[in-house]
Amino acid sequence: MSTRPDPKSPASRGVTRTSSRRELLTLVAGVLIGLVVFEWVLGGRTGPGLDSQGALLPHPTLGWENRPGFRVPERGTQLDRFGLRNPPTPDPLPADEFRVAVFGASRVYGAGVPRQDDLWNYRLQSGLAERLSQPVRVWNGGVNGYSALQAARRAHLLLSSLRPDWLVVVVSPRSQLMLDGSQAQGWKRVGPGENELIPRDLAARLPDALEPFGARGHHWLARHSVLYRRHRALEVVRGVRGADYEQWLFTGGDEAPEVAESLERTFAEFAALSRACDALDVQLRVFVLAEIAQDSEDGWQRYLEEHHAHGAPAPGTDRRAPNRALGAAFDELGIRVWDGFDLNESMGRARERYLLPQDYHWSRDGHEAFARELLARMLADDGWTFESAPRPGERAER
C-alpha cells in the first residue's frame, strides 16, 4: 500500500520549490527565446542598424567614424583609407589635382543607394572633370547618423591629410544635425594597451576590471541588437534631444539652456574649422539643406500644426525661416552659405523620383540633382578658381 507524502514535510516542500523554480526558469527561457525571435523579426523589418555591417568604428573624439578600407563588394560599397565613400585615395596624393571634399550625414553618405557609383560625388567628379583640364578628385565624407558638429570636426581632423581646394559641410536645420547627441568625446580607452573604446557613461557603471568586457559587449550588442540600439539611443540623447525636440528645427530663437549650449558647441566647431581652412587657403562653404517638411506649403503647415508640441516651430512660421536663420548664424561666423531650400522644393514636386520609397534619403536621381546643384553653386561662386591653389610643400612637385 502506498502512502501519500505529508504535504507539510520538508522533503515534500523541497519538491514543490524545486519544481516551482523550474517553472521560473522555463519562463525565463521563454523570455529569452521571445527576445531572440523579436530581434530577428524586427531586425528584418527595420532594416540593418547603423552599423549592421561593421562599417563604423568608435572614435575617441568623433563618437564614431567610417571604417577605413571597408568593402561590401555585392553592394558596391567601398570606403577609402580615410573611410570616405569614393574610389581609393592614393598615398601620396597626386599634387596637381583639383580636390573637393564634402562632409555631412547619411544623405551625403548615400544611405539606401545600392550602387556606389550612383552617388552625388561620382557625378560631381565627372561634371567637374568635363570643365577642368586637371585631374579632379571628389571625396564623400558623409557618415550615417552624424550631427553637424561631428561632420565639422571630422572635416577638421582630415583637413591636413586631404588638403582640398574646396571643403563643403552639408547641414540641415533639424535636431539630429544641430543638437549634437553623439558620443563625441564620450569614449574611454580601456583594456590592455588601451585599445578598446567604451562609452564613458557605460564605463562609469562598471568596475575597472570589467570595462574591457563591457566594451566588447557594447560593440557586439550595438551591431546585432535592435533593442539595444534603441535603448542606447534613448540613453544617449536624453536631455539633449528628448521627446520635446524630436521635431525641433533651428529657427534662431531663444532656446532652453541645454539646447543653447549644444548649439554653441556646434557653432564653435565650425568657427575652428573656418580658421583652419583660412590658414590653409581652403574655400569653406556650408550647404544648408532643407527638411522634407519644408518642400511644400501644405505639408509645412500640417507639419507645424501636428508637431509644434514636439519642438516644431510655431504655426504660421515662414517655410524658409529655418534655412534663413541657419544661414544667418553661419554668416555671423564669416562662413559662406549655399542655401539648398530651392533644391529641396524642386525635389518635393516629385518625391517618388528623387527620394527612396518609405525613406527620406535621396534616390539615384536625388543624388544626381544634388551633384548638379553643387556644381552650379561652385561655378557661380566668386571664390571659384579653375586651377587648384598651390599647396605649401607641393609647389616643387608640380
Binding site: 516542500r13 514543490t16 523554480r21 519562463l27 525565463v28 521563454g30 523570455v31 535603448h231 500644426e305 510655431a314
Partner: protein
C-alpha cells in the same frame, strides 16, 4: 530605478530567482526582501533613506510602547506614545510637504502689506542639496513619504485601538513599511494585511508567477503604451502652452489627462500587485474602473481605494462619521476630502479640488439620500455622464498646477491656434477608453489564459510585449503619483 527600466527588470529578476531558491529560512527571506527594498529606495536618493529608517524606528518603538501600556492598563501612557507617533510622522510629512507652501504664502502676504520677508529662503540655508529643487529652490518631497507615513500611522493607530498586535521583529516591521513594490506610490497597505503574510511559509506556486506576470504586463502596457503616449503627444504640450491650441483640443487634453492619470497610477498599482504576487504577497486592489461610476461617492470608492479607505477609517470615522446629524456629517466629509486634497499636494488648487469633491458629494447626499437606489434606465446613463464630466473637469485643477496655467487654459486661443492632435494621441485616447470600458469577461478571460498557457509561451509573450514597449518609449518618465 523605475518599474519600466531595464535596470529594474534585472534587479527584480535576480531577486525572484534568489527567493525561489529552495531551503530558505523565513529570516533569510525577510532579510533579502528588506535589503532589496532599502536598496531600491536608496536608488532614488540615498539621503532619503535616513527619513524612512527614522519613521520605521519611531513607529516600531511607539507601537511596542502603546501595546505594553495598554496591556498594563495605562491608557494615558498609550495616548502619549500615540501622540508621539502622530506628531513625529505628520510633522516630518508636513515639514517636507507644506513648509514651502506656508512660508511662500506668508512671504507673499507680508510683501503685500509692505513688509517683505524671506521665510521661504530659510530652509535652503540648512537643508542638504538633495532636498532642494535646483531651478526653483523649493523643498523636494522625498519619494513615497506620503505613502509610507500613512502606512506607519495605520500601524500605531491600529495597535492603539487594540485591533493589531505589534510586529514580532523590527525586521518584519521595516519590511512592511519599505516593501519595494508598493513603497513609492502605493497601494497603502495596512499592517494587519501584510504582517500575517510574513508568518506564513513561502511556497512559490506557478499560479503566483502566472497571475503576477499578467498584472505586471497589464501595468506596463497601461503606463508605457497609453499613459506616456497620452502625456507626450496630447496633454503635456497643450498644458505647456494652452493658448497655442484651440478650445476643442484643450477639452480633448482634459479627457486625455483624466485617462492618463488613471492609467499611470493604476499601472503602478498593477505592477506593484503583480510583483508582490511573484514574491509571495497579496497586496490590496487600488482601483476598480473608477470612470464607470455613476456618482462622485462611488468614484471615491473605486479610485485610490487604499487612500479613501484610510481616510474613512482613521479620519472620517474618528471625527464621528455620518453620526450626529447632517451638519456634522457635512463637516466630517469636507475635512476628509480636503485632507485627501492636501495629501496630494500643497496648494490652494488641491484644497479647492478637495472642497469641490466634498461639495459634489454633499449635493448628491441632498439630492439622493439613499445613495443610488433604484433608478430608471435613462437616469443611470445621465448620472454617469454628469459624474464622468465632473471628474474630468475637476482634473483641470490637478493638472494646471498653478493659477497661471489654469487661466491660460480658459483664455482665448491665440492666433494660428492648433486644432489638430497627432494620430498617436487619438490612438492612445481611443485605446484607453476602450480598455477602461471593456466588458467584464475580458478580465476572466485573461486570467484563464495566463493560468492555462504554457510558461514558455508566456515568457515569449512577455519578451514581445517588452520589446514592443521599448520601441514605443519616447522618453523616460516617472509615475505621476511619485510626486505625492
Amino acid at each position: 530605478m523605475t518599474f519600466h527600466s531595464l535596470t529594474f527588470l534585472v534587479f527584480f529578476g535576480a531577486l525572484a530567482l534568489a527567493l525561489w531558491t529552495p531551503g530558505q529560512s523565513r529570516a533569510l527571506r525577510s532579510g533579502l526582501l528588506l535589503g532589496s527594498s532599502l536598496l531600491f529606495y536608496a536608488s532614488y536618493e540615498w539621503l532619503y533613506l535616513p527619513l524612512l529608517l527614522g519613521s520605521i524606528g519611531l513607529d516600531y518603538f511607539c507601537g511596542a510602547r502603546i501595546h505594553a501600556a495598554l496591556e498594563q492598563g495605562r491608557a494615558g501612557r498609550a495616548k502619549r506614545f500615540m501622540a508621539l507617533s502622530l506628531v513625529g510622522n505628520l510633522g516630518v510629512l508636513a515639514g517636507f510637504k507644506y513648509t514651502d507652501w506656508i512660508a511662500r504664502s506668508f512671504d507673499r502676504a507680508c510683501a503685500a502689506l509692505g513688509h517683505p520677508t524671506e521665510l521661504a529662503a530659510w530652509p535652503r540655508t540648512w537643508l542638504p542639496e538633495a532636498f532642494i529643487e535646483g531651478p526653483t529652490g523649493q523643498i523636494l518631497v522625498p519619494v513615497g513619504i506620503s505613502f509610507y507615513t500613512f502606512q506607519t500611522l495605520s500601524y500605531t493607530i491600529d495597535i492603539y485601538r487594540g485591533t493589531l498586535r505589534p510586529a514580532r521583529h523590527i525586521r518584519d516591521f521595516a519590511l512592511f513599511v519599505s516593501f519595494f513594490p508598493q513603497l513609492v506610490a502605493g497601494p497603502i497597505v495596512r499592517a494587519a494585511e501584510f504582517l500575517p503574510q510574513l508568518e506564513r511559509p513561502f511556497e512559490p506556486r506557478s499560479e503566483h508567477l502566472r497571475q503576477g506576470l499578467r498584472r505586471f504586463l497589464i501595468g506596463l502596457v497601461k503606463k508605457v503604451a497609453l499613459a506616456d503616449v497620452l502625456g507626450a503627444e496630447l496633454v503635456d504640450p497643450i498644458f505647456a502652452d494652452p493658448q497655442a491650441f484651440s478650445w476643442g483640443l484643450r477639452c480633448v487634453a482634459l479627457y486625455g489627462f483624466a485617462l492618463q492619470i488613471y492609467l499611470d497610477f493604476s499601472a503602478y498599482s498593477d505592477i506593484a500587485i503583480g510583483l508582490g504576487r511573484v514574491l509571495g504577497f497579496e497586496l490590496p486592489e487600488n482601483f476598480d474602473r473608477p470612470y464607470r461610476s455613476t456618482s462622485v461617492r462611488e468614484f471615491w470608492r473605486r479610485w485610490h481605494i487604499t487612500l479613501s479607505t484610510w481616510v474613512r477609517d482613521y479620519l472620517f470615522i474618528s471625527l464621528g462619521g455620518s453620526r450626529g446629524g447632517a451638519w456634522r456629517t457635512a463637516r466630517n466629509l469636507t475635512v476628509s476630502m480636503v485632507a485627501i486634497g492636501l495629501w496630494h499636494g500643497a496648494s490652494l488648487l488641491w484644497v479647492s479640488y478637495g472642497l469641490l469633491q466634498a461639495l459634489a458629494m454633499l449635493v448628491e447626499r441632498w439630492v439622493d439620500p439613499g445613495g443610488g437606489g433604484r433608478s430608471s434606465p435613462l437616469k443611470r446613463p445621465l448620472r454617469w455622464l454628469l459624474t464622468f464630466h465632473f471628474i474630468v473637469f475637476s482634473c483641470l485643477l490637478i493638472r494646471a498646477g498653478d493659477q497661471g496655467t489654469l487661466w491660460a487654459m480658459v483664455a482665448e486661443p491665440g492666433e494660428h491656434a492648433i486644432g489638430r492632435a497627432p494620430r498617436a494621441a487619438w490612438l492612445a485616447l481611443g485605446a484607453a477608453f476602450a480598455a477602461h470600458f471593456a466588458p467584464g469577461p475580458w478580465k476572466a478571460w485573461s486570467q484563464g489564459f495566463f493560468s492555462r498557457a504554457p510558461l514558455v509561451a508566456l515568457g515569449f509573450l512577455t519578451a514581445w510585449v517588452l520589446g514592443l514597449l521599448a520601441f514605443l518609449r519616447t522618453s523616460t518618465t516617472d509615475y505621476i503619483y511619485f510626486q505625492f
